[in-house]
């Protein structure tokens, strides 16, 4: 076996969350990508068939992150891809899958599942501190209560609930804000930081807009809002990040607002927004931008398809994925917030995306 199969000397979980920059970040990421690519080629025959058919020769040819072969993210909707024995799978995650689409299936073994949680914990600690906080969920209890309609929202709320305690749902089951319950919760935890979690479009419509319409406010000045998931079917109501933050501050007094970008196919290594308003890659992930037509890498400042790298996926070949989201790299190691690494912007989704190539090749 090539040397790149070996586990790295230092566990990746010891890496500084937002402290790696320049060549140091690139070299560590490159080593992990070589190792993971070799592992998945050896352990997942369909993965090997795809990347080899695309002309990939071997891991030693990976001289730069741009050389790491990638799968289109939607391949996980069509194929059962796993790189560990079936018996090692402890958990299967599924994506939301908008109407008419099939769902991704992501198979986790113990190690991958544990790494997801460790990495997510590290990233969350950067914005909320190391302690679990009283948690206000901007959603309704029914979203998690109905186990037979387990959705991305359910998974998101439950995943982030690990960082909260004494969880309170701000919305009733008909999705209307319950100000009495919410105020009682805030009174109970007065003087403490509060973790507030919700999906972007739900926070906007069912918290901000609802409070505006009722001419009411909530005292959430100690709140730390973590929101993600984009605007989904509410694209027409979408507002810019600045307007979003202003809207939140006006009706809740909350100024610590962090958007995150991530996908179920790379759970854990999410991209978190800093106080300066920029999404950041952590030590465990990287972003490349590719031309939507010919997939050539694009430089910072140019808009294209988001190619995500993550050191987490071991049990399934998801360490290098081409998404159907568009955005751009804004800079590296240059954020006013002081974080090292890549900062990026997501501009939305490629409509009616049809990423061809790999999956077609495999079907042939």
């Amino acid at each position: 076996m090539p040397e790149s199969h070996d586990r790295p000397a230092e566990p990746v979980t010891d890496w500084p969350c937002f402290g790696l920059g320049g060549a140091e970040k690139r070299d560590r990421m490159l080593a992990e990508m070589r190792r993971l690519t070799a592992h998945h080629r050896a352990a997942c025959a369909p993965y090997r068939a795809i990347v080899d058919k695309l002309g990939f020769a071997n891991e030693d040819r990976i001289a730069a992150l741009e050389d790491v072969p990638f799968l289109p993210v939607r391949l996980f909707k069509r194929q059962r891809l796993l790189s560990v024995p079936e018996a090692d799978v402890v958990k299967t995650m599924t994506s939301s899958g908008t109407s008419g689409q099939s769902r991704s299936q992501i198979f986790l073994d113990k190690a991958t599942s544990a790494l997801q949680v460790k990495v997510l914990s590290r990233i969350m600690a950067e914005v909320m501190g190391p302690k679990r906080l009283p948690m206000l969920v901007i959603d309704c209890r029914a979203t998690v209560a109905d186990r037979y309609r387990f959705s991305a929202r359910t998974a998101g709320i439950l995943g982030f609930s690990m960082f909260g305690r004494d969880v309170c749902y701000a919305l009733d089951d008909d999705m209307t804000l319950n100000p009495e319950r919410t105020r009682a919760f805030l009174d109970k935890h007065a003087g403490q930081d509060i973790l507030v979690f919700g999906f972007t479009f739900i926070v906007w419509r069912h918290l901000v807009r609802a409070l505006e319409a009722a001419r009411e406010t909530l005292h959430l000045d100690r709140g730390i809002l973590i929101h993600g998931g984009g605007w989904k079917q509410l694209q027409a109501e979408a507002v810019a990040p600045d307007a979003f933050r202003r809207g939140i501050a006006d009706v809740t007094g909350m100024t610590r607002v962090h958007n995150y970008y991530g996908m179920v196919e790379q759970t854990g290594s999410i991209f978190m927004e800093c106080a300066a308003g920029f999404l950041h890659a952590s030590a465990w992930s990287e972003i490349l931008i590719r031309d939507p037509v010919d997939f050539t890498p694009l430089p910072p400042g140019e808009t294209g398809l988001i190619h995500l790298l993550s050191v987490i996926p071991h049990s399934y070949p998801g360490h290098s994925l081409l998404s159907e989201d568009i955005g751009q790299v804004l800079g590296r190691d240059d954020c006013p917030c002081g974080r090292m690494g890549t900062r990026l912007r997501i501009d939305g989704r490629l409509e009616h995306a049809e990423i061809r190539g790999c999956s077609d090749t495999f079907a042939a």
Binding site: A114, V117, K118, S121, K131, R132, V144, A145, R147, T154, A155, L158, S161, M162, F163, R165, D166, V167
Partner: protein, 79 residues
């Protein structure tokens, strides 16, 4: 009630099981109720019962009835 009885009671109520099912084989996802939803509810119930606050890592590693007893030791709760 002893700590053991309190501990068992949380499992019995959360997962709708009987006391004789609670042994080393009672692990995460061994009954439909012990899924990720049930897990967080159980943690909340244990925290209330013993007036403790567990760290995220311990919540995740709380993978069985038996492992749970070890985890609670860390918070001064002897089962």
């Amino acid at each position: 009630m002893s700590n053991k009885e309190k501990y068992d009671q949380v499992f019995i109520e959360n997962f709708s099981v009987s006391a004789d099912q609670l042994n080393a084989d009672f692990v995460y996802q061994c009954v439909p109720q012990w899924d990720s939803v049930g897990h967080m509810a159980m943690i909340a119930a244990l925290e209330d019962t013993f007036d403790i606050m567990m760290e995220t890592e311990d919540i995740i590693e709380f993978s069985s009835y038996t492992v749970g007893m070890e985890k609670l030791k860390k918070y001064g709760v002897e089962i």
